[in-house]
Symmetry: C2
Subunit: 150 residues, 2 copies
């Protein structure tokens, strides 16, 4: 456990960019696995959770499918079907938009808000595992990734 090189038993990387790339992909997979253990209890996928979070951010306003798509972590997601699943669980509502009948108004329900709150509580505990670096270091890492993507 430790450096990405040790984790995947790769002694050398072509360059620092290639190493960072693998490190980011590996770390994302690691985070997903950890988070999934929480989501699974509530029968949510990461993307369903992501959608609910965005809808909470809009609450009490509605969001269109497109707005959700734009803000999703994974841009390739099929939002329509994610909403289907959430609606089947009464976590969101979907109504035609009055001003533009192509759009739909998606809103999070009280049940959805309650679920997110329950998950938040678990997350708080879980996130303590991530305090192996200081807040300043985390901020620095975020800034580097931002710059990398630009």
């Amino acid at each position: 456990m430790g450096s990405i090189g040790e984790e995947i038993k790769q002694k050398e990387f072509k360059n620092e960019y290639s190493k960072l790339m693998i490190n980011v992909l590996y770390t994302a997979s690691w985070l997903n696995t950890l988070q999934n253990s929480i989501f699974k209890e509530h029968k949510l996928t990461p993307q369903q959770y992501n959608s609910l979070r965005i809808l909470r951010g809009q609450h009490p306003d509605a969001a269109s499918v497109n707005l959700l798509k734009d803000r999703m972590i994974d841009k390739m997601s099929n939002v329509s079907r994610i909403i289907d699943k959430l609606k089947a669980k009464d976590l969101v509502t979907r109504k035609p938009c009055k001003h533009d009948r192509r759009q739909v108004d998606v809103k999070i329900t009280d049940k959805g808000l309650e679920l997110l709150e329950a998950i938040d509580l678990q997350m708080v505990d879980w996130e303590k595992n991530l305090h192996t670096i200081s807040p300043k270091e985390a901020e620095a890492a975020s800034a580097l990734l931002d710059k990398w993507r630009s």
Copy 2:
């Protein structure tokens, strides 16, 4: 374009850890989308590519399914089926292991090596897009992620 907050239109994060978490997941998705455009031409998935890379690292030795699983970026992968796909394309061979009949010896073929080499050439060009930070900064980011996971 720019900071993760602007990208997903989220003004505030609970804390720096939560922000870094979303940033890593977002950056990984960004990398996957970019890489996929290369892999798709060769009809490979990221995981198939990852497996081939590991097999090339072992070449000319064989790898067991377990060894592959351990070194994969995504630990949840179903390696048996990934190997199935690669074998169907003659990119790997799969033979029973002599010393332990539970195991199988998976090896990359010449065709597999050639494919990787072709992809490598494309990657070199593509990776130039990632030079928005210096090698030292990339190294620093890697080190922070390593520390974060520990």
